[in-house]
């Protein structure tokens, strides 16, 4: 097939002078495509040369900003690590497609970021099939990589082996942001319990908290996201397990616990009484935030760190606006808990199809090791000291214009490995007191975490069919909260879930759980 294809292509292109069109391409990148073998050879020979030569390799990473950053930070980084890095930026919204196609066509970069836990799980089979380097045995050689958190590393292992370096995320940022000025107007304290919170939502809706004499406010603003929106956080307040929980020594999904039901009822009441936005199952994050910024809604449950960007827009409309942040809201049994993520957001892996020798792997690992020195970690995260930020009391204070910072520096945050605890990077100073408090509460949350027991477990059925199964329950949850189905309807959805593979998932997770515990 191949020679003929090439022949046909040659005929085709010479016939129509494709060369003229191809002439638009920049030369440096053109050498990259086409013949993969050739590129590999040159790279190998480069790797073999004296170590003073900068080591060239490529990284594929998510782009979370509109634009690709300019080279300033990258150049500084290359200089300090003696490398020559080609970063293949991929817009976050199409990352999965790019990841799959690069994988299937053997056109990976040397170091590939996985995007998130979900995509990582999908690659487990390929990992088991030896498509990626196992890096566990090499970790001790590297001073900084060996500082990575044991627990988080364990969460990213496949069959007890390590294949990836993680990028840390705070375990739980979830909490409440509310209108402090409204609460003060009505004489309300920050809520201690779910009942207090409900009362606050009622008062924000009915008692004219903005004092304009009009019935134009609601309590909570929420969006079409059961996890990062309000629902999962409130379910933690009710002490619902995080995705899966143990019941009589057996793992069961969260929605089979009565606490999950209580949370749904709680939302159902809020919705029915119009204490929250009526269209929340279809509201986008932007529209949800708009309701909060423009003084329609008084409470926002989600990442507490959002308080800063919310405040910056809101004060333009209403200079007197005051936000409060809060966690520690206790459920009916008087205990505060909050769900945790596995401690990583993204991770980087090294495909064997591209990284061909151990020697090359060690050099790449060496680079990531160097990234974990405080100096490089700060460069990557905050930019250049004195130009982008300055250090105040051991914390970084951004001095560059925020649009400059967003464009020059922030994109590089997506190739950070580890986190402030492990790579020694500065924490930030924030000019807004509620944001400072939010950062404190995010740390405080770590004392009350509920972990997902299935993070390190395996279920074949879940990998194959999990998305579909989740959807059955999510749909039923939404419908129950807006009153389109009743309890019987929800139960029948749970039955559907069981019949379409849920029962197998329960069995597989429990088997995997027992295996793990017996070891």
């Amino acid at each position: 097939m191949k020679p003929r294809q090439k022949f046909a292509a040659a005929v085709f292109s010479s016939l129509f002078g494709i060369a003229a069109l191809a002439g638009c391409a920049s030369n440096e990148s053109a050498s990259n495509g086409g013949d993969a073998d050739q590129t590999d050879q040159t790279e190998q020979s480069e790797a073999g040369e004296a170590s003073s030569e900068p080591f060239a390799f490529s990284i594929m990473a998510n782009l979370h900003t509109p634009e690709v950053p300019d080279d300033k930070i990258l150049n500084a980084l290359e200089e300090s690590t003696n490398t020559e890095i080609e970063i293949q930026w991929v817009p976050d919204n199409t990352y999965v497609e790019r990841l799959n196609s690069a994988f299937a066509t053997n056109s990976f970069a040397d170091a590939v970021f996985m995007k998130n836990q979900t995509t990582f799980v999908q690659f487990k089979e390929a990992i088991r099939d030896d498509q990626f380097w196992e890096i566990g045995p090499y970790m001790e050689q590297f001073e900084n990589l060996s500082k990575l958190d044991e627990q988080v590393l364990a969460n990213t292992m496949v069959d007890g082996k390590l294949y990836s370096i993680y990028q840390a995320r705070p375990l739980s940022r979830q909490g409440l942001i509310y209108r402090k000025d409204w609460a003060d107007n009505l004489g309300l304290e920050a809520p201690e319990t779910t009942e207090d919170f409900y009362e606050m939502m009622r008062a924000f809706t009915e008692d004219d908290p903005d004092g304009d004499g009009q019935d134009d406010t609601i309590g909570l603003t929420d969006r079409s996201d059961l996890v990062y929106g309000a629902f999962k956080t409130v379910s933690s307040w009710f002490n619902t397990p995080n995705n899966w929980g143990e019941q009589d020594g057996k793992l069961m999904p969260e929605f089979m616990f009565p606490e999950y039901k209580q949370t749904m009822d709680y939302f159902k009441d809020l919705h029915e009484n119009k204490y929250m936005n009526q269209d929340f199952p279809v509201t986008s994050k932007t529209d949800q935030q708009t309701l909060f910024k423009n003084g329609t809604a008084g409470a926002y449950i989600g990442s507490m760190g959002d308080v800063l960007s919310l405040y910056e827009d809101a004060k333009e409309l209403n200079p007197d606006i005051e936000f409060g942040v809060h966690n520690q809201i206790k459920g009916p049994n008087g205990e505060y808990q909050i769900w945790a993520i596995p401690g990583y957001g993204n991770m980087v892996m090294f495909p064997k199809s591209k990284v061909e020798s151990e020697e090359e792997l060690l050099k790449i690992l060496g680079f990531f090791d160097a990234l974990m020195t405080p100096e490089n970690a700060n460069l990557l995260y905050w930019g250049i000291e004195g130009e982008n930020y300055e250090v105040v009391d051991g914390r970084a204070n951004v001095i560059a214009d925020s649009s400059v910072q967003d464009r020059e520096v922030k994109p590089f945050q997506s190739i950070e490995v580890g986190g402030p605890e492990t790579n020694g990077r500065y924490e930030g100073v924030f000019p807004y007191e509620a944001k400072e408090k939010a950062e404190e509460l995010i740390k405080d949350n770590e004392n009350y975490l509920i972990h997902d027991p299935t993070v390190a477990l395996d279920s074949e059925t879940f990998i194959e069919n999990g998305e579909r199964l989740n959807q059955i329950i999510q749909d039923a949850t939404w419908k129950y909260m807006i009153g389109q189905i009743d309890e019987a309807g929800f139960e029948s959805a749970v039955e559907d879930w069981k019949n379409q593979g849920g029962t197998a998932v329960i069995e597989e997770y429990n088997a995997s759980y027992e295996e793990l515990n017996s070891n």
């Binding site: 016939l15 079409s224 509201t283 998305e467 039923a476």
Partner: protein, 321 residues
């Protein structure tokens, strides 16, 4: 068999065949420039469309990207069996057909009617302005169309519901009531694509010989009659081709659009093949299964095109092939 008559007839047939062959050969030779013209186009289709089609065989495999097509395990029709035995299969099929029906019956004629109306406008400035205005929405991505619709229709302060209340009506739950999904879908399609759709028909109308209209006016034909007897017949072949091609697209309804409108409460009426494949297939990297679904869609499309083409030919039209 040995009858001399038969032999003669056979000989004659041979000669006829030879003549026919020779004649065909001459015709081909005479048309050689035409075949040369065809060559680049056919090469393109061969290289970039037909060669990749070997990828369709993964529909019959348990394809693993790193094992490649050569190394993946064969599973026969297992993916098709899975598709047909999905509990939601018939529901999805019905949803897809209903949306397709809406597209065909409600949307398809609108650009034709609009172009007929535009074609009758005598004030050039006005005509050009309207043409340009109705063509703009095509450039708004579905994300924008859907988010603007949300802002207008939401119960939480959307203009439409505010207006309804001003006039003393009850607010309507456009976004969460499944009954509103289909009207909303087709209205958005019309808003975004109707103006764009007129371009082709206006071009076809522009090719009509003005003398035909002159003659008709001389005969005292009214505007309606001119439209009916001159304009419409002259764009008929374009309409038929578009119709046949549209029918082949029966299972393609705009993944992104439907996906953005899809939510928990309307899934029963809004889930179509594309969105279904997205959640079951691509999201979990199940290449084989989604290829099988694509294959199935292709076959349905092929059958529909062949049927529509046969029908068109039966009615004395040209057809697409």
């Amino acid at each position: 068999m040995n009858q001399p008559l038969d032999i003669a007839a056979q000989e004659q047939a041979k000669i006829d065949k030879a003549n026919l062959k020779a004649e065909r050969f001459r015709r081909i030779k005479r048309n050689k420039l035409i075949y040369i013209m065809l060559l680049p186009g056919l090469l393109y289709f061969l290289i970039y469309k037909y060669i990749p089609m070997y990828g369709l065989i993964i529909a019959f495999q348990e394809y693993k990207p790193y094992q490649g097509i050569m190394g993946s395990e064969w599973v026969g029709f297992a993916h098709f069996e899975r598709l047909f035995s999905e509990p939601d299969f018939w529901n999805i099929f019905a949803n897809t057909l209903i949306l397709f029906g809406l597209q065909l019956v409600i949307f398809f004629p609108i650009p034709i009617i609009l172009s007929l109306m535009l074609n009758e406008v005598r004030i050039h400035m006005f005509k050009r302005t309207v043409q340009t205005l109705i063509y703009i929405p095509h450039f708004m991505s579905w994300v924008i169309v859907v988010s603007i619709s949300y802002v207008m229709l939401t119960l939480d302060g959307g203009i439409v519901n505010e207006l309804l209340q001003v006039f003393g009506f009850e607010p309507v739950n456009f976004l969460l009531n499944p009954d509103w999904f289909r009207p909303m879908y087709i209205l958005q399609v019309i808003w975004r694509e109707a103006g764009w759709g007129t371009i082709i028909f206006l071009a076809a109308m522009a090719a009509v010989d003005p003398q035909l209209y002159e003659a008709a006016r001389m005969d005292g034909a009214s505007r309606w009659r001119q439209m009916w007897h001159i304009t419409l017949p002259s764009i008929r072949s374009v309409i038929i081709i578009l119709l046949i091609l549209k029918i082949g697209d029966v299972l393609e309804l705009g993944f992104e659009h439907v996906y953005l409108l899809l939510n928990a409460s309307n899934r029963d009426v809004a889930e179509i093949f594309d969105t279904y494949v997205y959640t079951t297939g691509l999201q979990q990297g199940q290449f084989s299964y989604s290829t099988a679904v694509g294959f199935f869609k292709g076959i349905v499309g092929l059958v529909m095109v062949m049927f529509a083409n046969w029908l068109a030919k039966k009615a004395g039209e040209e057809g697409v092939y």
